[in-house]
Assembly symmetry: C2
Homo-oligomer: 457 residues x 2
C-alpha cells in the first residue's frame, strides 16, 4: 500500500527531506506532498541581501528548484500558496488552506515533516506593522524590500546590528540610500566578543553607515499608514524604509498547537534521526533545536546549511535508510564590504555561562606571506579552557581570504582538540596562501602559552 509523506514548509529543510525520501522510495511506495505558504520553494534566503544590493541580478538565481521541477523530475507534489493551519496527530491529518482559492481541506499522512522555519522577531511597539517596515526572512520579504528601493526610498533604517542587519545596511548603502543601523546593545555584531565586534562598528562607520548602538527603539512614526521615522531614546531617525534585523526564533506555533514537544531553547525537540516525540512526526531546519557539541545543550540557530543537513537526515530515515545529525558547533561567516567575519564555538561570555574557565589569545597576522602581493590583515581570537587548553571557540575578523579559515578551527573544535595539539598541525603553506606559520597555528600557539603561563608551568 502506498504511504504518504506530507511536508510542511517548502524551503531547504522540507524539500531536502522530500528529495532524500524520494531517492529511496519510488512514487508507488511513497506519495510526497509539500505545502509552502509563500510563493517560492527551495531558495537561498541567505542571498536576499545580495539581491537587494544588486550583487545578484535575478531572483531566479536564488531559486534552486521550482515546483514544476519537483513534480517532473522527482514526482514530488510541491504546492505553493498552501498553508498548513492545523495538525491533528490523533487522526494523523493536516488541515491545509489554499490561499488563492480561500478554502481549507484536510489530508492524511503516514509521515509528517515539520519544516516551518524561523520567524523574525518584531518589537512589540506601536506602528511596527506599518507599511514600509519589513522583515527579511523570506524571498517574498526580500522582493518587497527590493520593490520599495526601486520605488524611490532614500532613507533606510535597519533595526538590529546582527549579521543580517549589517548585510542589509551594506546593500542599502551600495544602492545609494542613507543608512542608519540602530541597536539597543552597545555595539554591533554581538555574535562576536566585544573586542572583535568593535572592529565591525569601526568599519561600518568608515563606509558611511550611521551606527547608533546603545539606542533602544521606542516606536515607529507613521504618515498615512506608512512608516516615516524610527523613534529611539536619542530622537527620531527619518525613514522611508525600515528593515527589522532583530534575529529570528524557531517558528513552532503550529507544532505547539498540535501538542508536539518544544524545548527550552525554543525549538521543536528532535532526536538524532530528526524524529519528534510524537509518532510519525519528524521535524528539521530552523524550527528545531540543535545539539551544541561544545555546551552539550540544545540551541536554536537559524542557518540554511543546518536546515539542508537536517532535512537530508530526516528524508533518509523516512526513506528507510539510517542517518543521524551529529549537532553543531556554532560556526558562522559573513561579509561586510571588504571585511570578512567568522566565528565558531563559544564566545567568552558563552563559555563562562557554560561553566568553563577560560584564557584567550588574539593574534594579528596576514592571509599570505607578508611579502606576497595581496597579503591581507587577519585578526584571530581563540577561547580555550584553562588548564586543559581545550579549544572552546574562535573568531576571525579580516579581509580577503581570512574568514574561511574558521572551518579549520571548526573542524578542530568538532574533534575536541586542545590548542597544544593544534599548534603543530600540518596545514598547507606556500607564500600565496599563508605565512610559514598559518594564523590558525600562531593563535593556537599563543593560546597555549596563555594556558601555560596561567598554570605557571
Amino acid at each position: 500500500m502506498t504511504e504518504r509523506l506530507v511536508v510542511v514548509g517548502g524551503d531547504a529543510a522540507g524539500m531536502s527531506a522530500a528529495s532524500q525520501a524520494r531517492r529511496r522510495r519510488d512514487a508507488d511506495d511513497l506519495e510526497i506532498v509539500a505545502f509552502e505558504r509563500g510563493n517560492y520553494t527551495s531558495y537561498s534566503a541567505c542571498g536576499i541581501p545580495y539581491l537587494i544590493g544588486e550583487v545578484v541580478d535575478e531572483v531566479d538565481d536564488l531559486i534552486t528548484r521550482e515546483p514544476v521541477v519537483f513534480k517532473e523530475r522527482f514526482e514530488i507534489d510541491a504546492r505553493i500558496r498552501h498553508e498548513v493551519v492545523e495538525i491533528d496527530t490523533d487522526s494523523a491529518t493536516v488541515t491545509v488552506r489554499d490561499l488563492d482559492a480561500g478554502r481549507d481541506f484536510t489530508m492524511s499522512y503516514d509521515h509528517l515533516v515539520i519544516a516551518t522555519g524561523a520567524k523574525p522577531l518584531r518589537p512589540p511597539l506601536e506602528g511596527s506593522e506599518a507599511a514600509g517596515i519589513f522583515g527579511v526572512q523570506t524571498l517574498d520579504d526580500g522582493l518587497a524590500v527590493r520593490e520599495a528601493v526601486a520605488s524611490g526610498a532614500r532613507r533606510a533604517v535597519v533595526v538590529g546590528a546582527g549579521y543580517i542587519g549589517i548585510e542589509m545596511a551594506e546593500a542599502f548603502k551600495s544602492r545609494g540610500l542613507d543608512v542608519a543601523v540602530v541597536d539597543r546593545l552597545p555595539q554591533p555584531m554581538t555574535t562576536l566578543d566585544p573586542d572583535m565586534g568593535a572592529l565591525i562598528g569601526e568599519r561600518m562607520h568608515g563606509m558611511g553607515i550611521s551606527v547608533r548602538c546603545g539606542e533602544a527603539v521606542t516606536g515607529f512614526e507613521t504618515s498615512e499608514g506608512r512608516v516615516s521615522g524610527v523613534a529611539t531614546g536619542a530622537g527620531t531617525i527619518p525613514a522611508d524604509i525600515v528593515v527589522l534585523g532583530l534575529g529570528a526564533r524557531p517558528n513552532v506555533d503550529l507544532a505547539r498547537s498540535a501538542g508536539i514537544e518544544v524545548g527550552d531553547a525554543g525549538g521543536i525537540v528532535v532526536d538524532r534521526k530528526m524524529r519528534t516525540r510524537t509518532e510519525r512526526v519528524w521535524a528539521a531546519g530552523d524550527c528545531v533545536e540543535k545539539f551544541h557539541r561544545v555546551t552539550r545543550r540544545p540551541t536554536a540557530i537559524a542557518l540554511g546549511t543546518h536546515a539542508n543537513k537536517e532535512g537530508r537526515v530526516a528524508g533518509i530515515n523516512i526513506g528507510g535508510g539510517y542517518e543521524t545529525f551529529p549537532g553543531v558547533v556554532g560556526t558562522a561567516v559573513s561579509k561586510v564590504c571588504d571585511v570578512e567575519v567568522a566565528r565558531t564555538g563559544l564566545l567568552e561570555r558563552e563559555a563562562k555561562d557554560a561553566g568553563f574557565e577560560v584564557v584567550t589569545a588574539i593574534v594579528d597576522s596576514t592571509t599570505r606571506a607578508g611579502y606576497f602581493p595581496g597579503a591581507a590583515p587577519i585578526k584571530t581570537k581563540m577561547i580555550v579552557e584553562r588548564r586543559s587548553g581545550r579549544l572552546l571557540g574562535a573568531q576571525i575578523v579580516g579581509e580577503e581570504g581570512a574568514a574561511k579559515r574558521i572551518d579549520v578551527i571548526a573542524t578542530a573544535l568538532w574533534n575536541e582538540m586542545s590548542v597544544d595539539e593544534m599548534l603543530n598541525m600540518d596545514l598547507s603553506y606556500a607564500p600565496p596562501f599563508s605565512p610559514v606559520w598559518d594564523p590558525v597555528l600562531i593563535t593556537a600557539r599563543k593560546a597555549w602559552q596563555a594556558v601555560e603561563e596561567e598554570t605557571g608551568s
Copy 2:
C-alpha cells in the same frame, strides 16, 4: 657553567631552534653559535620563484632576520660563510671552515643541532655542472637565476614538472622567456593522482608553456662551458638557462660521516623531541625524517613549515622545556598562475602501497554560491578506506579560494575522521564564501556513498 649550543645551518630549522633555546636560557647559561655556509640566514626559500618572477621585488623581503639581528636582539652568534665540515661526536666538537678566510677551526659543543636542509637532485649526466644550470634550493641559487635572466637569457628549460619546477616555469614565462618543462614521467605534478595532475598540464599548455612530459633528459649541450641545450629522447631543446626542479633529498652527508643514524626514508632519525640517536645531538628540518601519521612510517618531505615547527621543538627541549613534534599528514599547496593546487594525506597509489583498499570520489563545485559573483571552479577528490570510510587523502584543483580548503581536510585527516562523520560537519556558510553545502562536505558525502555502494549497504 655556561653551556654551548652549536647549530649547523642557519635557515628555518636551525634558527628556530636557536631562538627558542634562547627564550628559555639566557646568554650566561647558554652560548649559542650558528654556522651557515651560504650568504643568508632565515629566509623564505619558498619565495624564490616569486623573486625571479618579480612578484616580489626585493630580496630583503624574503629574509626574516639577518645575522646582526640575531646578534643584537637575541645574543645568538650567527656566522654566514662558515661551513661545518666535520662533526666528532666522541670529543663533541665540530670543525668549521671559514670560507672567506680559507681556514678551519674547531669548536666544542654541549648541544648540537643539525639543520643542514635538503640538497637538490642532480641528474648524473654529462654537462650537468655547466654554467647556466641552476638548482633553486637556496637564496644564493635564486639570486644567480635572477641574475641570469637579467643578463638576457631568452630560453629557459625546467627539468622536472613538480611544484617547484612549475612555479619556476611560471616565473620565467611572466618575465617573457620561452619556457619548456621536461619530465620523464607521463604528466606533470606527480604529487597528485594522474586524473588531477592532468588538469595542471592542460593549464600550463594554455599559458604557452611547452610541456614535454614522458621525455627523459639524456644530457646537456654546452658551448664554451655554458649550457646551450637540453638533450632528451625526442631531440634537443635550446636553452640559455636550465633549472633543475627534480626535487630534493635530505642533506645527511655530514651526519652520516659522523655516524649519526640515517633512516630508510633517507633522513636523520629523530625521536619526537627531535633528538638523534647520538648523545647531545639534535636535528630538525629538511634533513630529518618525519613520522607520517597516515602511513605510520617515516617519510622525507622538504617544507619550510615543518622545518620551522621542528626547529621550535628542538629549541624548546634544549632550553629545558618539553615539546614534541607530532608528525605530518603530507599537506602541500601551490599556485600555477590562476590555478590553485593542494593535497593532503595519501594519493591513491600511496594508499595502496601502504596496504589500504580504497574507494574515491571526485566532485566539481564552486568556491562561493553558484550565483555569487566570483564563484570559481573547485574540483575536490577524496581517497577513503573501503568498508570503514576513513579519510586517507584528498586533492584540490581550482581557482581563487579553492586550495586553502585543503586545511579543513588535513585537520579531519589529522583526527582520523571518516567521511561519514565529515559530511555533516559544521563548516561556515554564506553566499560569498561557499555553496550551502561546502565542496568539502559534498565530496565527503559522495565518498561515503561510494563506500556504501561498495559494501552493498
